[in-house]
């Protein structure tokens, strides 16, 4: 304080901009997570409907000697195949969008839109997508596994 000068890093000097960056990151995370959860509910609903529609078939499979875990495997397979198709579709779309966005000129010091193919993001997307699919599929699958064939045949 003797000289009347003080020093600070660029982060401190631009605290407002840094806060804006942080806010943006929070919003992006929230929006993408919301989308994943919505997609998860989609899969959950499809599977739930399939289980209700196929309840006779589930009963007959159980009568023939399929165990609870076999039934779970059938429905998880369906859920995961929906998940895998979604992930592959999502990857292709992401790659196309990145390719296009890279060519968008936004001017200023930045020039072209600063985006590139980031492997970690693709891996993150796959992993989180599959985890959500798994749970969205597991709940209806467990319901299917608990079907009591006798109560179905009685109707």
């Amino acid at each position: 304080m003797l000289t009347g000068y003080k020093s600070e890093g660029w982060r401190e000097a631009n605290e407002t901009i840094m806060a804006a960056f942080r806010m943006r990151r929070i919003i992006i995370t929230l929006v993408s997570n919301t989308l994943l959860i919505v997609a998860g509910f989609g899969i959950y609903n499809i599977l739930n409907m399939t289980v209700s529609q196929k309840i006779n078939d589930i009963a007959i499979l159980k009568a023939m000697g399929f165990k609870g875990k076999d039934v779970i495997r059938i429905f998880l397979t369906q859920a995961l195949s929906i998940g895998v198709m979604g992930v592959i579709g999502g990857m292709i779309m992401a790659a196309v969008l990145v390719t296009l966005l890279k060519k968008v000129y936004i001017g200023g010091d930045i020039g072209f839109f600063p985006i590139d193919y980031e492997l970690t993001k693709f891996i993150q997307g796959t992993v989180v997508g599959m985890i959500i699919t798994f749970f969205a599929g597991y709940l209806p699958a467990r319901k299917a596994a608990q079907v009591d064939p006798v109560s179905i045949f009685r109707k």
Binding site: A63, M64, K67, G68, D148, P149
Partner: protein, 222 residues
């Protein structure tokens, strides 16, 4: 040698009121026997069949399949046992409509995993031939007539060479011509292969032609 034996089986329904559906049922099914269970609606015959099939486990008493006590086994053990030893035919065929007849028949065998897929396929063809349906093998199950579907269901019940076949109103949904075909098939199975069959039925003629009739009234065998 008894293929199936029950000792003092009783069952209660608790809803809406306490009601005893089965009262101390004890009987046995011998090897190679074609047994019909008859009785009015509510006499407990279907309930008894579901207990015999090991799908219903809420009863008191003891059930033996093939000399082995199955009462008290876990659901998974029972499922395995059903896959191995029991074939089912229901009133409403219950084939999987999206699959071909052949696939439907192969399904329990693929689950059992005793043979390779090719062996299972040729065995499934044999069963279809036995029931006169080999030309329908590759059609989707939903494209067949009711009588044909029921015969495919019988072929499916046979695929794992079950120790016993259980039927719930196997002809309940069929006209007299198809009833005759199904009946002759069953008769043939017991005669030629010594295949034990238990059938719950309303059809008096069907019952009269079987080896033994068990009549049920108010939860008891009369």
């Amino acid at each position: 040698m008894n293929i199936l034996e029950t000792r003092n089986i009783s069952k209660y329904f608790h809803d809406p009121v306490e009601f005893q559906v089965l009262k101390d049922i004890s009987f046995a099914v011998r090897k190679g026997e074609f047994l019909s269970m008859v009785g009015k609606s509510g006499s407990g015959k279907s309930t008894l069949l579901y207990i015999l099939s090991t799908m219903d486990t809420e009863y008191s008493g003891q059930l033996k399949v093939d000399g082995q006590t199955v009462t008290g086994q876990t659901n998974d053990q029972l499922a395995e046992m059903r896959n191995n030893k029991i074939g089912f035919v229901f009133q409403f065929h219950y084939l999987l409509p999206e699959f071909s007849c052949l696939k439907n028949i192969m399904l329990p065998a693929l689950k059992l995993g005793k043979y390779t897929a090719q062996e299972i396929e040729s065995r499934a063809y044999d069963k279809l031939k036995l029931l006169g349906l080999e030309d329908q093998a590759l059609k989707p199950a939903s494209k067949l007539s009711g009588g044909q579907q029921q015969r495919v269901a019988i072929a499916r019940a046979l695929i794992n060479d079950p120790h016993i076949i259980m039927c719930d109103e196997p002809t309940g949904n069929l006209d007299s011509k198809n009833t005759a075909i199904v009946f002759d098939t069953f008769k043939d199975l017991t005669r030629s292969f010594g295949q034990p069959i238990i059938a719950v039925t309303h059809d008096e003629e069907f019952a009269r032609n079987s080896d033994r009739i068990i009549e049920m009234r108010d939860g008891e065998i009369v």
